[in-house]
């Protein structure tokens, strides 16, 4: 489009209102990123914004160039020095936040301000890469308002004082465009594979890992973050059976339990015989960046996109980089494993490192000697030891020496699930009973409002499985045998104690979690797979990206078309006063008979012309005209009764013949 010359040569500087709004926008961006930036850095950025605001209030001009250059070098420099690298999520976000603040230092013209706003919108979005919970999404969405208000303030037509008019347009538009935004969200085709590198290849994995050494689970057990939510199709399983199988650890190296070499064991899932009713449920698992999926012990089948390992554990084909949902059927009454244990499997289940923990081995040998072939008695011996042997459940477990099992069993006697599961499995193996460690989650919190089980990271748990002839792999939870429990002072509830009580929670927290769950399931968990099923109600079983694109285009055009229609509606033409309405009606009626009032024609001239043009209506018309002129011009406000009479007369007015064309 041709632009008139001189229109953009020297734009006027920003008005104080626009600049203040710009400062608010930038401050909002800094606030949105504050949770993952160093506190001193956030404070420094906030101070720079405040200083710039104060400076421009006093002298409306840019900050000196040397200062800007200094800032431009100092901001990334500080962050690289702090993080050691400019790459990665946290340093990257901190650096762009800083650059935005530097941009504010030189924002003097509408053009700068628009660029700053655009930049701010982008950085606002990046705040959601850190936390896409409902609360933070709403918060960041609201932070668009100052950005929109700034854009509005850059345009003319605002009163100079007051913030509200600037916010008004943006707020109304934001509310009005929500439906369109949601439709766009539903229909924008998702990428099946990322365009470039996985988002956080180097970021810490969360949740349970497949290595268990003394103390490893500690951080997890004090973490109140949500791990997953489970909704059952029927009644939930009883609390004692809420074990969620994650991974099975076979190999012990004297210190840590690991999955061990998979090649030594069969590849096919161990056979499972269901002995009672099965339970079907849906799991919403939050991102872990790992492959492990969790299922109620023991899963019957594997959900879509997952494979079942030999130990009846579920593994996602792709790393779980975002929340996923899957449905599984599990049997809580089951017999797991073959009739006879394969020789190699048996060897793996009895593996113990040589040269470690002689005392524990000696104890197991004594039990074996006393019990003979009765494996059940040995298990009972071990559980009795944990129950009566002065063992304490405490998250603050003392450190263990080289012979960690011996240290734990005979000296410290203090620990939590991983200590008990590890020691128990060791004792079983030492006594000749095939055993292995299972990690997963146990317990959970039953939300009475929405009927689902909430599993937190603190519910992480480790237990043992022992192989008994005729019964297969049997779950034994040695931690449950411990009688003395010291609840952690570190804040996290002792989630892995069976029946650990969480009833003290406030009901509002339940409700909040219901909302969070809904958010996680419907919005955060809306992935490419669920999108393909989106158009099912339109008879399309598997929507392709092209279909979605077409639907998106149709929706956008429809929305804008409807919006255009609404926008083009004239405000009610009907004048507020009845006299003008009646006189408009008379004019329309006369116009139908060929007498059209000119734009600059007064009523008196018009009616005179009309009486000439329509001779047979002339007497009545003359009467109406004089009445109108009296009401309109001879009275300050027309009396209502006479106005009503005039309106009635107009309604009764008829013309028989058409006008003869004026000479």
């Amino acid at each position: 489009m041709k632009r008139p010359p001189g229109a953009r040569t020297q734009a006027p500087p920003l008005t104080p209102l626009a600049f203040n709004l710009l400062c608010v926008t930038v401050a909002c961006v800094v606030a949105a990123h504050a949770p993952h930036m160093p506190a001193w850095y956030t404070a420094a950025l906030a101070a720079i914004v405040a200083a710039r605001w104060w400076q421009r209030r006093r002298q409306p001009r840019r900050v000196p160039a040397w200062l800007r250059v200094l800032m431009l070098l100092a901001v990334p420099g500080a962050m690289i020095a702090y993080y050691g690298t400019p790459l990665g999520r946290e340093p990257g976000a901190a650096i762009v936040c800083g650059l935005l603040v530097v941009k504010l230092l030189e924002s003097e013209r509408p053009r700068d301000a628009r660029m700053t706003v655009a930049f701010a919108c982008f950085i606002l979005m990046s705040a959601l890469l850190f936390d896409q919970s409902l609360a933070s999404t709403i918060l960041v969405g609201l932070m668009l308002l100052p950005a929109l208000a700034t854009l509005r303030a850059l345009e003319p037509g605002l009163p100079t004082a007051g913030w509200r008019p600037a916010f008004k347009t943006g707020t109304l538009l934001l509310a009005a465009s929500l439906p369109l935004a949601l439709l766009g969200f539903l229909l924008i085709p998702r990428l099946a594979t990322p365009l470039w590198g996985a988002p956080d290849a180097g970021a810490a994995r969360t949740g349970i890992s497949d290595r268990m050494a003394p103390g490893d689970l500690h951080a997890l057990l004090t973490d109140d973050a949500v791990a997953m939510r489970i909704g059952f199709d029927g009644a939930p399983p009883p609390a004692a059976r809420r074990y969620f199988r994650g991974m099975v650890l076979w190999h012990f190296d004297g210190r840590a339990w690991t999955p061990g070499a998979a090649a030594s064991r069969p590849w096919r899932p161990a056979p499972l015989a269901t002995l009672g009713p099965t339970t079907r449920y849906e799991v919403t698992l939050l991102a872990t960046r790992q492959h492990w999926m969790f299922a109620l012990d023991a899963p019957v089948d594997a959900p879509e996109g997952a494979v079942m390992g030999p130990d009846r554990t579920l593994m996602s084909v792709r790393p779980i980089d975002h929340a996923i949902r899957y449905r599984v059927t599990s049997a809580t009454d089951y017999r797991l494993g073959p009739e006879r244990l394969d020789r190699r499997v048996r060897a793996a289940a009895l593996q113990l490192p040589a040269g470690y923990d002689p005392e524990a081995r000696a104890l197991a040998a004594r039990w074996r000697a006393a019990a003979g072939a009765n494996n059940g008695a040995i298990i009972r011996d071990a559980l009795r030891l944990f129950h009566d042997g002065g063992f304490v459940y405490d998250l603050d477990a003392p450190p263990l020496g080289r012979n960690s099992i011996d240290d734990f069993l005979f000296h410290t006697k203090t620990g939590f699930c991983e200590h008990y599961a590890g020691a128990f499995t060791f004792l079983m193996r030492a006594a000749g009973i095939p055993a292995r460690v299972v990690i997963g989650y146990q317990g959970g919190y039953w939300n009475r409002f929405a009927h689902y089980l909430l599993i937190r990271q603190a519910d992480a748990h480790a237990w043992s499985e022992v192989w008994l002839a005729g019964r297969g792999w049997v779950r034994v939870d040695p931690t449950a045998a411990v009688s003395r429990v010291i609840l952690a002072s570190t804040g996290g509830a002792a989630g892995d104690v069976a029946g650990g009580s969480r009833d003290s929670w406030m009901p509002w927290r339940d409700r909040l979690d219901v909302v969070n769950r809904w958010w996680g399931q419907t919005v955060v968990g809306f992935d490419a797979l669920r999108q393909t099923r989106l158009l099912r109600s339109f008879g399309i079983q598997h929507a392709t990206a092209q279909m979605l694109g077409v639907a998106l285009a149709v929706v956008v055009f429809l929305a804008l078309g409807i919006g255009g229609l609404v926008a083009s509606l004239r405000p009610r033409d009907r004048p507020r006063d009845r006299l003008a309405a009646a006189q408009g009606r008379l004019q329309r009626r006369l116009a139908r008979h060929g007498v059209v009032r000119g734009t600059s024609e007064g009523p008196r001239d018009f009616y005179r012309r009309a009486t000439v043009a329509l001779p047979d209506a002339a007497p009545l018309l003359r009467e109406l005209a004089s009445e109108y002129l009296t009401l309109r011009y001879a009275t300050a406000s027309p009396p209502p009764d006479r106005t009503r009479a005039f309106a009635q007369n107009v309604r009764r007015f008829r013309v028989r013949h058409h006008a003869t064309p004026d000479a």
Binding site: P4, P110, R114, L151, G157, T599
Partner: protein
């Protein structure tokens, strides 16, 4: 512009012109009132709008790549807001009706004020800009006001057609610009250019030299609305915080001045007209009666009132 189609093609062409005035971009002069209906309001993204489009694509790519639905939702929200703002921008112009246009009298070379009267439809149009001949002039219409004033350049004297006006708005966010063209089918009279350093009329016995001499004056007084702009004493005004005008000596009201076309023989036609115009203006400013005699020896006056002034200037402007 006047190449009217003839014959069979005429009805079709007329129909096209009526249905799609946009094709002509408002180049055809049309009688007032002109309503900007949906067929003639254009809309396109501004430069900032294109920047925001790039931003949205970048945000979309990031959100999709990181499979972050919250970020995608935010992107959709921003996109939807900006797309919907297009409707508001369009609505700024849509249904705007230019009811009447009144041109002030202006001299060639100065900008001619045009008073526009829009139909009052109870809607505010705070972002309206009107560009006449390339100069963008903000004309905010508040609710209840329907009048705006713009200035148009003048290049020739006499009856000239009004230039095409571009009405535009970038409200509310400056990411879209709606615009439309109006060429009112109206002619305005432009008075001739005033020659400022005109030598006084040739009659030496005239005691009113100083009127036409222009530089001699009796006193300075405060500016009042309606004072001729060229009597403003700019240098003196610069030293004060308000405008001062030169008050001319009105001492000799007796003999009317005589501005004769034929007395100015050795200069070209336009300069002659301009000089006569300058004299008329000066005499009128000094409230001194004058007689204007044109080429065809038609005399005007003597008189010193506004009607006489405008009659003289109209006659000068309409000279071939």
């Amino acid at each position: 512009m006047d190449a009217r189609p003839r014959g069979a093609g005429r009805t079709l062409a007329a129909r096209i012109r009526r249905r799609l005035p946009g094709l002509l971009r408002g180049r055809t002069p049309e009688p007032l009132p002109v309503r900007l209906d949906r067929r003639r309001v254009y809309i396109a993204p501004t430069r900032a709008g294109c920047g925001f489009a790039v931003l949205l694509i970048a945000m979309l790519a990031g959100a999709l790549n990181y499979q972050n639905n919250a970020a995608l939702l935010l992107t959709c929200l921003l996109g939807a807001v900006l797309a919907c703002s297009m409707l508001l921008t369009w609505r700024e112009l849509h249904d705007l009706t230019l009811r009447a246009l009144h041109a002030e009298h202006g001299f060639c070379g100065a900008r001619l004020p045009l008073h526009l009267a829009f139909a009052d439809d109870g809607r505010a149009r705070p972002g309206l800009n009107i560009a006449v001949d390339g100069l963008l002039q903000p004309c905010p219409l508040r609710r209840g006001t329907s009048r705006a004033t713009v200035t148009a350049p003048t290049r020739t004297r006499g009856w000239v057609a009004l230039p095409r006006m571009r009405l535009s708005s970038t409200l509310p966010f400056g990411v879209f610009r709606a615009w439309s063209w109006i060429t009112p089918d109206q002619q305005v009279l432009v008075y001739p250019r005033i020659l400022h350093d005109a030598p006084p009329p040739a009659s030496s016995d005239d005691p009113n030299d100083r009127i036409a001499g222009g530089d001699e004056f009796a006193a300075l007084r405060d500016y009042h609305a309606g004072d001729p702009i060229r009597h403003v004493a700019w240098k003196a005004s610069a030293r004060h915080d308000h405008l001062l005008v030169r008050e001319f000596d009105r001492a000799a009201p007796g003999q009317p001045l005589r501005f004769d076309w034929n007395a100015l023989s050795d200069i070209d036609r336009e300069t002659r007209i301009s000089r006569l115009t300058g004299w008329v203006c000066d005499a009128y400013a000094a409230a001194h009666p004058w007689i204007l005699i044109l080429e065809d020896r038609r005399p005007f006056g003597p008189a010193n009132d506004a009607a006489h002034y405008h009659r003289c200037l109209t006659a000068l402007a309409e000279l071939p």
